[in-house]
Amino acid sequence: MVALNEVGAEKAVEELVKVDLTTTSVRELNAELHAPTARRYEVHNPRGAEAIAVGLHDAVDVEIHGPAGYYCAGMNMHADIVVHGNVGTGVAENMMSGSVRVKGDASQSAGATAHGGLLVIEGSASMRCGISMKGVDIVVGGDVGPMSAFMAQAGRLVVCGDAGDGLGDSIYEARLYVRGSVASLGADCVEKEMRDEHVAELTELLARAGMSHDASEFRRFGSARQLYHFAAHNSAAY
């Protein structure tokens, strides 16, 4: 593997750079990814390290081979990042664009506050998946934990398995699609009709995420919009 300090800035753009996190620091990796000298990167031996591949803003491909820790791919813009393993808290938090694909499971707050891009979790996601999401598309192959899509403002959350308690609590205009069971709905979240445009957008999302399920197997949830304004009769929901 190439040590990063051997890759000079004046050097021609490499096709593929391999980085071993047993010999290269996360700081060196991120510095390289912020001013990339290659189009593709492979990261080996992440061993759950925090803040891997955060703050990227160029259209590069990054493949992380192994489990990553907190905030992997945080605030991603334009880059396409794949993790071959599990990820810790806050994967792709506040992503703006590009894509992040997790081949394993994700811990809490996956895709938190993300404004755009596509987050695919092939396994399951823990609590608070899509918390305060602001436009991102999240597709989860397995289940999502309790309080997912809490205060979700915009974007789509697709759950191919089951959803835990309190789904979509205090949701705004995000759209939620669940194929399996929903343990319970949070305040102001209700089931809504699957109209043709919803089947169409879900079909397109599933295809982009590489999921083979039929859109007709899903139910749609969204905001009842009863908590949009302060009112005395809502006091129990506050």
Partner: protein, 226 residues
Amino acid sequence: MCGIVGLHLKNPALQPELGRLLVPMIEAMTSRGPDSAGLALYDDEGMHVVKDVGLPRDICAAHGIASRSGYQAVGHTRMATESAITPEHAHPFTPVPDLALVHNGSFSNHASVRRNLAFDGITCTTDNDSEVAARFIGREIAGGADLEDAMRMVLKEFDGFFTLLVTTATQFAVLRDSFACKPAVIAETADYVAMASEYHALAELPGIADARIVEPEPERVYAWSR
């Protein structure tokens, strides 16, 4: 506010390796708790507790943790919030024989529980909120409760944020509060159950790539017995 690790060995062949496996786990939690650290190790002679101020690496070296054997251990790295940095304030808290508790989080009603315990004649020796939980569980167990039941009682009595790992001579149990904000990950193989605040504390364990990785659900007791 802290880092937690724990290891419960199912395969007796690993027992000579307990300390060697544990040291990198607790060292990986240094940034979560650089003030002090502590460990409880269980072998056939009983529970052995080490608590000290300083970095986990130095404490493990000073007490020869890497060469210890045994069947179960918990470890804790501490970032003190509202109580002093002393060995006595370090985790684990071990109020009754063979019981060890490590905690990550912050109880919001520990002063009230502390007063209730005092009324029953159970006095805490530090102002640490985690000690209150340890003495509470100790009282339940001394009264004949199973560890799992004692931990479910914590859910009724305590408010706030917590991930708890509690061990007895025979049991290893994990519990998170209803918000489950404080992190926890459990890895299980045929050879062991391992628990930590973050995955990277588990990354060096043998066979971790094939372990079943679980993130504990809120308000559910996860327990293993030997």
